[in-house]
C-alpha cells in the first residue's frame, strides 16, 4: 500500500498527479476463502479490515452486488454520535466513537471526522427531564454529555428560532461535544484500502443469489460470478438482511423500510454543529460543500425501493423551517432514499445464528453509519472466535425470543415506530 503523506503528495505533484496507484485491486473471485463477507459497504469493509488487522485472518472476500460503498454508506446524513440511554447501546456506540477519533490515522486515509457536536433539542418539560436523564446515563457509561439551556443552544446555532412563538418552542438541548460528522464515502474507501492492503479480496458486481448449507453449517455461496466456498459467511447488507436471511430459510425480527434524506442548494457556512429535534425527529447539519443535509422519519411503509414519496419530504422540510425560519428561502437541490433494516426493538443485531458459520450484522434502523468502525470491530471478533465480543453480547438474535429487548424508544414491536 502506498502511504499517503505530505511527501507522497509532493512527489506526485512533480508528475502532475498522473502516477497515483490504485487504492485497491479489482480481483476475480477465488474458489475458496476462509471468510466471506456479503456487502462491501462501510460495515462489511470494516469487518474485513479488523478481521485482518486484529485477528490475522486475511483469506477473506467481500462480495458486493453493485459498487463499493454504493448502498447506505453513500446515502446517510453522516452523523456520528453516542448519545443513548441504555447501557448496551451506549457502551457499544461510545467504543465506536473512540475508534472514529483515531480512524484517519489508523487507516492513513482522511475520513474528515469533524467533532462539531450534536445537539438534541428538547421542546417540552418532559423532554427536558428525559434528555437530562439520558445525559446522565451517557456520562455514567463513560461518554460525554452537556446540558444546554436555550440561550446556550442559540449561541451555538444562531439561526434557531428560540422564541415562544415557535411551533415547537425550544427549552434546551443535550449536547454531545465529541459527536459530529464524517465524510461517508471516505470511510468506505479508507476501510477498503486498508483491507485490500492486508490481502482481502474486494469483489464488486458480484451478487449473492444463494447460500449453500450442508449438515447445519454453511459451505459457500452462489453468486452472479459463480460458486464460492467458505466455512464462515457473514452478512453486512444494510436493508437487505431479510432478503439474504431468506436464502438461508430464516425469518428475522426485521422489516425493510425506506428512509429519505435531502440537501438544499449550497450556501455559505451558517450551521457549524449538528441539530436534531426530539419533537419532529428531524436532523440537520451543513456539509463542507455548503449544502444543508436534512433527514427525518421513514416513509413508514415496507419498501425495498431506494426512493421515497413526496409527503415525507414535505414534512422534513416543514420541520426544519419551523426550527430555522431563515432556511425557508433555500431551494431543495436533491433528495434520495436508502433501505433500512428496522428491527423489532430499534437496536441492531450482531450475532451468530443456529446455522454453523453463518453470522448476521443488521437491524441498524436509522443509525448504521456512526456504528461503522465499532460494528466492524465486534463483528470481526464474533466471526473470528465464533463467539460475541462483550460489546455485542446484548445484540444477539435470540434476545427477542427471551425478552431481553433493547428498546431505546420504548415503542415495542412496531419496527416503523423506532
Amino acid at each position: 500500500m502506498q502511504k499517503y503523506s505530505i511527501f507522497s503528495l509532493a512527489r506526485n505533484a512533480l508528475t502532475s498527479h498522473k502516477n497515483w496507484g490504485e487504492a485497491w485491486r479489482n480481483p476475480d473471485p477465488k474458489q475458496e476463502y476462509d471468510v466471506i463477507i456479503i456487502g462491501a459497504g462501510g460495515h462489511g469493509l470494516a469487518t474485513a479490515y479488523y478481521l485482518a488487522k486484529n485477528h490475522g485472518i486475511t483469506n477473506v472476500a467481500v462480495l458486493e452486488k453493485g459498487y463499493l460503498g454504493g448502498g447506505n454508506t453513500g446515502r446517510n446524513t453522516t452523523i456520528v454520535r453516542a448519545n443513548y440511554l441504555l447501557p448496551e447501546n451506549e457502551l457499544f456506540y461510545e467504543h465506536s466513537l473512540k475508534l472514529w477519533e483515531g480512524l484517519s490515522q489508523d487507516l492513513n486515509f482522511n475520513v474528515m471526522f469533524s467533532q462539531r457536536g450534536v445537539i438534541n433539542l428538547a421542546h417540552t418539560d418532559a423532554q427536558v427531564d428525559a434528555h437530562q436523564r439520558r445525559g446522565n446515563a451517557m456520562i455514567l457509561n463513560g461518554a460525554d454529555g452537556v446540558w444546554l439551556n436555550k440561550h446556550e443552544v442559540k449561541a451555538r446555532a444562531p439561526l434557531l428560532d428560540i422564541s415562544d412563538r415557535a411551533r415547537f418552542p425550544i427549552k434546551g438541548g443535550l449536547l454531545q461535544p465529541r459527536a459530529g460528522t464524517a465524510r461517508h464515502d471516505a470511510v468506505a474507501w479508507g476501510f477498503a484500502r486498508g483491507a485490500d492492503a492486508r490481502g482481502v479480496d474486494i469483489i464488486q458486481n458480484c451478487e449473492v443469489t444463494g447460500i449453500d448449507i450442508e449438515n447445519g453449517g454453511v459451505v459457500g455461496v452462489q453468486t452472479s460470478r459463480g460458486a464460492i466456498k467458505a466455512k464462515k459467511i457473514g452478512t453486512a447488507v444494510a436493508g437487505h438482511t431479510g432478503h439474504i436471511a431468506a436464502m438461508a430459510e430464516m425469518r428475522l425480527p426485521i422489516e425493510s423500510h425506506v428512509l429519505q434524506a435531502m440537501v438544499s442548494e449550497p450556501v455559505k457556512p451558517c450551521l457549524d454543529t449538528v441539530v436534531t429535534s426530539g419533537a419532529t425527529h428531524t436532523y440537520i447539519s451543513q456539509s463542507d460543500k455548503g449544502e444543508l443535509v436534512m433527514g427525518g422519519d421513514l416513509d413508514l411503509y415496507n419498501s425495498y425501493a431506494q426512493r421515497g414519496n413526496f409527503p415525507r419530504i414535505e414534512e422534513v422540510v416543514a420541520s426544519v423551517i419551523s426550527m430555522f425560519p431563515a432556511f425557508s428561502r433555500l431551494r431543495l437541490m436533491r433528495t434520495w432514499g436508502g433501505v433500512m433494516d428496522m428491527s423489532m426493538d430499534g437496536s441492531p443485531i450482531i450475532t451468530k445464528t443456529d446455522i454453523n458459520g453463518f453470522y448476521i450484522n443488521g437491524g441498524w434502523c436509522y443509525g448504521g453509519f456512526k456504528a461503522t468502525p465499532g460494528s466492524g470491530w465486534v463483528y470481526a471478533h464474533t466471526i473470528a472466535n465464533d463467539t460475541p465480543h462483550k460489546l455485542n453480547e446484548g445484540f444477539a438474535l435470540n434476545r427477542f425470543e427471551h425478552g431481553y429487548m433493547i428498546d431505546e424508544e420504548g415503542s415495542g414491536a412496531t419496527p416503523n415506530a423506532h
Binding site: 437487505h240 431479510g242 432478503h243 431468506a246 425469518r251 428475522l252 425480527p253 426485521i254 422489516e255 425493510s256 413508514l300 411503509y301 415496507n302 419498501s303 425495498y304 425501493a305 414519496n309 413526496f310 409527503p311 423489532m344 427477542f400 425470543e401 414491536a413 412496531t414 419496527p415 416503523n416
Partner: protein
C-alpha cells in the same frame, strides 16, 4: 404519492391513510397458541422483496382497516380489499 383504492371510499391519496403493518402475521389462538406461535406472531416477518400484503388504516376517511397488496420494490399497488378478502396476484 401512493394512490390507494379504499374498497369503501374509492381512490384516495396516501396521506389519508396510516400504515398498520404486515397483513400476513396471524394472531395465535388464545387457548391453544404456544410460546413459539406468539413469538413468531409478534416478532418474525417474511419481509419479502416483492409482493407484500399489508394493512392500512383509512384514518382520515372511513376509519376502516383495509388490505393492500403492493410491490415493495416498485411501490405499485396490485389490489386492495377488506382484510378478509383474497387479493389478486396481478398476473393476467
Amino acid at each position: 404519492m401512493l394512490e390507494i383504492n379504499c374498497p369503501y371510499c374509492g381512490k384516495r391519496a396516501q396521506k389519508e391513510f396510516t400504515y398498520a403493518g404486515d397483513a400476513g402475521a396471524e394472531r395465535p389462538n388464545l387457548e391453544t397458541g404456544t410460546n413459539q406461535d406468539w413469538f413468531e406472531f409478534v416478532y418474525l416477518r417474511n419481509n419479502p422483496r416483492g409482493l407484500h400484503d399489508e394493512l392500512w388504516h383509512h384514518s382520515a376517511g372511513c376509519r376502516r382497516l383495509i388490505k393492500v397488496r403492493r410491490d415493495v420494490v416498485t411501490h405499485e399497488i396490485i389490489d386492495t380489499g377488506a382484510p378478509s378478502d383474497s387479493l389478486s396476484t396481478g398476473a393476467s
